[in-house]
Amino acid sequence: MSATPETSAIRADASGGPLLAVEDLRVGFATEDGRVQAVDGVTFELEPGEVLAIVGESGSGKSVTAQTIIGLTRSPNSHIEGSVRLSGEELTTQSESELQKVRGSKIAMIFQDPMTSLNPVYSVGKQIVEAIRAHDSSVKKSKAREQAIELLGAVGIPDAERRVDDYPHEFSGGMRQRAMIAMGLALEPSVLIADEPTTALDVTIQAQILHLIQDLNRSRGLATILITHDLGVVAEVADRVLVMYGGKVVEQGTLDDIFYDPQHPYTWGLLGSLTRLDQPRPHRLPQISGAPPSLLNLPKGCAFRPRCPHEFGKCKEVPGLDARLSEDPGHRDRCWLQPEQKRKLREIEGRIGLEEPA
């Protein structure tokens, strides 16, 4: 890489705003069974060099949020509202060809399953070269290939010089995800969106990939959105956390806020279902009973209400995403319970958890 980390990280724009600002993003899909509101009013900001984790179960809207940022959910059947601004520049209203210039070069994205995310018929090197040349066709193929080798080396592919001409099926899962990351880094983007990057990998490889992402985040100031359902992953790398449920953000705060003072019962449930080595082992790992709601037919009021043991009358109204702790305005949640009540209710056998319904 020719550029130094200082130049590669694009700092916040002149107006001093955030690097990436998502505001009241709504994504709906017209399906045969009716309209699905996959993302319902998501707002967040991403600062340079920050790792933001978006956490939630399948169907919570986290992947759709991420893909919408770079316009991958655009289709005749989708309806997108709200705003996504990169260094102050609005992306939602850009044409497809304008967005193509942003994709890969300013915002890179890597996906869940590295086994299927690389095209099986082109060599890994060719696919990286293609990404480089898509944004600057004046780069010679041989030059781009050298750069691909460098990138593969940088993400920890041994013997990159030789492996660059290998096909994806000759790489292991972890190596493929490294190759995906190398491809993402090729144009020195300012934002990396990693959509469940470790879900399809085994545990030791997961840790390696997370550390790689963390390294890149630190050494290059690469702002990262990490989408996951695994709070263990979040605990390792995130600075801030967004918890999503039923297409909405139900709680947001710093890593410490979420892990040590969680306000939403859904977050308690997620935390409670985590195995922890530093605490006595529960005889049975707790779970959140029930299933995530169908987005076609969300419950009235708080979407978590049907699964929540602490539900009361007020929950029939949708709670706003508000700062409910006077001492911590950055920590917001969507739950009607009083903070004092919450601190009592979430305590189960000395640790945070969600009470099993009677």
């Binding site: 942003v102 299927t116 099986p120």
Partner: protein
């Protein structure tokens, strides 16, 4: 890659041998009547039957019979007892006409099949897609014998736009071309419709693949995504079909088209041989057809290996 090609070529030779044995058995051993009598034709004298028995070795053991017959066929000594024409010469004479018909038709059907299939897939669900789908289904639904008759009646007989049927050798390219337009079109329409449908559905499958999303996420233009990532990975079903279809046609399978347009190619000869129950010819034609089907399927295997590195490496590793 070389090892892969050699392996496939040996495989093809083995298949051809098996087919020749099968053809031999079907024509000479399975029927209960005297094979010499069938080969000698309908108006054979006892003397002729005896000669055939001698020449074809029917008084010898089966392997010897097989060997004698293959030698006769492959050295070009088989003569039809009906028409007193040398079968190999007759087939060879038919090849230019059949090849002209099939190659021309294949160019047409591949061009339109790809164009329509690609457009349909890119515009899936839209008006273009629906219009092309209707067109393709219409094409698929028109049998060659019907379409050819209609074209001949209106365009040749009624308005005399095209010359009367028959095949003109390539030595006069203008005449060759004008005589082949209608046969090409009538043969190609069915396949064009069919191929566009196959390509469309194959492309729609590939469009949902994760690597296509990756290609979009790295900022490739929609066109590049469609051509380099979607189309390239959608080719295998189309190529599979093409190997089979083209092999059949060039091996004498365009019986209806050749007969209706009076193109005296291999298919025309096959129709004639079948109508007169000319067994030596039918046998030679079966082998000829099988040869091309196997040949083109071997090409298809090579194409697979070229298109998908997993196939190439998967087999050479063993």
């Amino acid at each position: 890659m070389l090892r892969f090609i050699v392996r496939r070529l040996f495989g093809a030779i083995a298949v051809l041998f098996a087919i020749s044995v099968l053809v031999f058995l079907i024509f000479n051993v399975v029927p209960a009547t005297n094979p010499a009598q069938r080969i000698a034709g309908k108006n054979a004298t006892p003397q002729l039957i005896e000669n055939v028995e001698e020449e074809w070795g029917f008084n010898k053991s089966l392997p010897e019979q097989y060997w004698t017959q293959m030698k006769l066929i492959f050295t070009g000594k088989v003569v039809s007892y009906n028409s007193h024409v040398n079968v190999d010469t007759r087939i060879r004479e038919g090849i230019p006409a059949t090849a002209s018909l099939c190659i021309g038709a294949a160019i047409i059907w591949l061009s339109f099949g790809f164009l329509f299939g690609f457009l349909s897939a890119v515009r899936a669900g839209g008006f273009t897609d629906r219009a092309l789908t209707a067109l393709a289904l219409t094409g698929i639904s028109m049998p060659v014998f019907w379409l050819a008759s209609i074209l001949l009646y209106y365009l040749t007989y009624k308005i005399e736009l095209f010359p009367a049927s028959g095949y003109e050798p390539l030595s006069d390219p203008g005449k060759w071309f004008s005589h082949l337009i209608l046969p090409w079109v009538s043969l190609a329409i069915l396949y064009a419709g069919f191929y566009s449908r196959v390509l469309r559905s194959s492309m729609l499958d590939v469009m949902n693949e994760d690597y296509v999303r990756t290609a979009r996420a790295k900022g490739l233009s929609s066109r590049r995504v469609m051509v380099r990532h979607v189309l390239r990975n959608s080719l295998i079903p189309v190529i599979t079909l093409f190997g089979l279809d083209f092999g059949v046609l060039i091996g004498g399978g365009a019986i209806v088209t050749e007969s209706l347009f009076n193109i005296e190619g291999v298919g025309y000869f096959a129709a004639e041989a079948l109508a007169t129950q000319d067994f030596p010819s039918i046998m030679a034609l079966s082998l000829f057809g099988a040869f091309f089907i196997v040949l083109f399927n071997t090409f298809v295997d090579f194409a697979y290996a070229y298109l998908d590195p997993r196939i190439r490496l998967g087999t050479s590793a063993t």
